[in-house]
């Protein structure tokens, strides 16, 4: 009886909508899991026999080394920025996040363009100094090159999370270590590294998911991984079954890694329960130490942002008059349109699920909030295949309906832009959801309760009170999702309707056709919008009192 009554007290349109959205979000992943165990065909046997091992080895190599280097660079940068003061300190604090604005695939073709035979370095060496170099020293289109690219443009994930942990949580521990006579290096090894383990693992798991998700870099560099294999199976062989099998295997590996992350993190959250934490006060550096730290920051910023940015700027200067046309305006319109519609839908779904999840007490709410996170862990190509399977299935139903109605049967859904937007929602819901959930966490439930004792229903309360109190979180979530969709590549490549391109997919097409100069203008638009959003989120919002 109790459960029935409790259910009744919680059952409303919010619960119903949350259930529907969650099922929709789960469906693509479930379809892949089910099909993973379906009977295999000849292609898949061939892939399994001769190629699968290669995919696994390459993917794991890329992930391991990128993980290692991003931790080394991200953590040391985070520690140096939070503990020491050098010239331009305030700039580096958020400037070192900027590389996140450059999607790795853009970084990849830009660096290739800088380093190849006709690139700026070799041309200058030849023309100015008459030096001819051995090509093998300048070839980055291989696994070490890909690791370099991933490290440069993904280390900010580790950097951001570790930095905010160190700045807000660790001041008393670090000051105590100093008082107890530990030098900087020992403090770092004995205190900073262990206490920030959870933060570091959190950051590096984002990096790992991004590397698994990547298609642009590995395809451009000609490295065989799961992503390229999924594309090959679908576009090359038109074999959706093998694509599903590959996607399923990759999903399985990702799930294993997520479990591993939980195990490593364990209960060691090491966060204080009190809100009275003092920020860490950075110490002024002098002499050679100042010089060393400064040059580390400068070279990191140069390699991961300034150099590729300036190179792109030069290419933009060379090609803008050819590229800027009505077609380019269409491209921008397409990108902004799908990103805006996708973000709007995501924010709406996230608001509904987050509101239901915080108001329903017990496991149901938590369960729904966990589901939303799922999509972000699954690589874009995998989601694309899942969504494609779902829509092809639905189209078959629609076709029989059309036949029954005596109309011309066509593929309605799987050729439409709605499929692409639905896939964006599945993939990026977590980004919007996290932002909104933390907004709700900050305001608590007391205002909602006050409103309800004053006679307002859950829904009226939501519109009159809740939504107005988390405006900032909603705006922040929207921006984050918008930029993520704008940069998205693998999923968009698989699901974009015929003759429909976004800035990201056009960039990739130009680069694949070795027209890297032409690719620069759309790259620049993506980078500038991303950089603006980073500036806004990390600089403007950071200044606001919390």
């Amino acid at each position: 009886m109790y459960y029935i009554r409790k259910m009744r007290s919680q059952f409303n349109s919010w619960a119903l909508l949350s259930v529907i959205f969650s099922i929709l979000i789960l469906l693509p992943a479930l379809l892949i899991m089910v099909q993973l165990f379906a009977e295999s065909n000849e292609n898949w046997e061939h892939i399994k026999e001769y190629m699968l091992k290669n995919y696994i080895v390459n993917s794991v190599t890329l992930v391991s080394f990128t993980g290692l280097f991003t931790v080394l660079i991200g953590v040391s940068a985070a520690w140096l920025v939070s503990a020491y003061k050098v010239p331009m300190h305030r700039f580096f604090k958020w400037g070192l996040i900027l590389p996140l604005a450059i999607p790795p695939y853009i970084g990849a073709y830009t660096y290739h363009g800088i380093l190849n035979y006709t690139g700026v370095i070799q041309t200058s060496l030849r023309n100015q100094f008459g030096i001819k170099v051995d090509q093998k020293f300048f070839d980055i289109m291989n696994i070490p090159g890909a690791v370099f690219i991933f490290t440069m443009f993904l280390y900010p994930y580790v950097y951001i999370i570790t930095k905010s942990f160190l700045e807000n949580q660790s001041s008393s521990l670090i000051e105590n270590a100093r008082l107890l006579g530990k030098g900087s290096f020992m403090t770092f090894i004995q205190v900073v590294l262990p206490v920030s383990r959870a933060a570091i693992v959190g950051g590096v798991s984002l990096v790992i998911l991004e590397v698994f998700n990547d298609y642009g870099v590995v395809k451009y560099f000609g490295i065989q991984t799961f992503s390229t294999a999924i594309f090959q199976a679908w576009f090359g062989m038109g074999d959706i079954y093998s694509a599903i099998k590959l996607a399923g295997t990759l999903m399985f590996i990702v799930v294993l890694i997520l479990i591993l992350e939980k195990v490593i993190r364990g209960r060691k959250q090491y966060s204080y329960s009190t809100s009275k934490v003092r920020p860490l006060q950075p110490k002024e550096l002098k002499g050679w130490k100042k010089f060393a730290v400064l040059s580390f920051f400068l070279s990191l910023f140069a390699l991961a942002f300034a150099i590729p940015f300036i190179q792109l700027l030069h290419w933009v200067y060379m090609t803008y008059d050819v590229i800027l046309s009505a077609a380019f305006a269409d491209l921008i319109w397409n990108s902004v349109f799908v990103a805006a519609v996708g973000s709007l839908l995501i924010i709406m779904v996230a608001l509904i699920i987050a509101n239901f999840s915080r108001l329903s007490k017990g496991w149901t709410g938590k369960f729904f909030s966990k589901i939303t996170v799922l999509g972000y862990s699954i690589p874009g190509a995998v989601i694309a295949i899942g969504v494609l399977t779902l829509f092809l299935f639905l189209d078959q139903k629609v076709i029989s309906l059309y036949e029954w109605l005596g109309l011309e049967p066509t593929l309605v859904l799987s050729l439409s832009i709605s499929m692409l937007i639905f896939a964006y929602v599945v993939r990026f819901l977590a980004v919007g959801f996290n932002s909104i959930e933390s907004g709700f966490d900050k305001v608590g439930t007391v205002f909602t309760e006050a409103s309800r004792t004053l006679g307002m229903s859950v829904t009226k309360t939501f519109f009159k009170v809740d939504i107005k109190m988390i405006k900032g979180a909603i705006a922040g979530g929207f921006i984050l999702v918008f930029v993520d969709i704008l940069k998205e590549l693998p999923l968009t490549l698989i699901l974009q309707p015929f003759n429909f391109y976004t800035l990201a997919t056009k960039t990739f097409q130009y680069a694949s056709d070795e027209r890297i100069h032409e690719a620069s203008v759309s790259s620049m638009v993506i980078i500038c919008i991303s950089a603006l959003s980073i500036f806004f989120l990390h600089r403007v919002l950071e200044k606001e009192p919390k």
Partner: protein
Amino acid sequence: MFVQIKDLTFRYKNSQKPLFENLSLSFKQGEVSVILGESGSGKSTLLRLIAGLEVPSKGSILIDQAVMNDTFRFVQPEKRGVGLVFQDYALFPHMTVEKNIKFGLTKMNRKQKQARMEELLTIVGMEDYASRYPYELSGGQQQRVALARAMAPNPSLIMFDEPFSNLDSKLQLQIRDELQEILKRTGITSIFVTHDEEDARAIGDRIILMNNGKIQDEGRPEMVLQKSKEKLSLAYV
């Protein structure tokens, strides 16, 4: 009896032991009752159960003879007609004093709303503050607005969760007297929750002494407090 609680059982989802087990309690119309107890004794939770913000696992609550919840029914908080003044007031920060007070007045036209709002501001002595935002008010002023807001929809029952805990001691006395005066004047049934014996003595017609989710004693303030003092001194002896 105006509020009747029968065999109420409630357990927080993350605790093993129920906080209340078969708790029965009632409140008379027009009476000012004070639930007195240490923090963690369950007194605030009892208010939340009466308001409908928590769902009991067993038992029934009746307000003015209407069933609020029993084995089959659960009336949502917005349908209970119960006013609640929260410990930290919970004034909506994005609304002015005027908007806060008008918030619960859903069934009135604009003129009626304005009149009711002005009436309440006069009762709490805040006529000049209608256009201020909550953050522009002092703690005592916020307290008065919270009271006005809770009273605006004319609830049959009004409840206060530690209403004085955020005020400094001088203000506490003043607000307490004012509040008592207002409650007497309006004759509204009210329930206070506090851990402060002095507050309980000063404001209550009746005190309910609560400890660990159980009622230890209830009755007129002097009697209850006298008995608990004797118990305490006995324990010392």
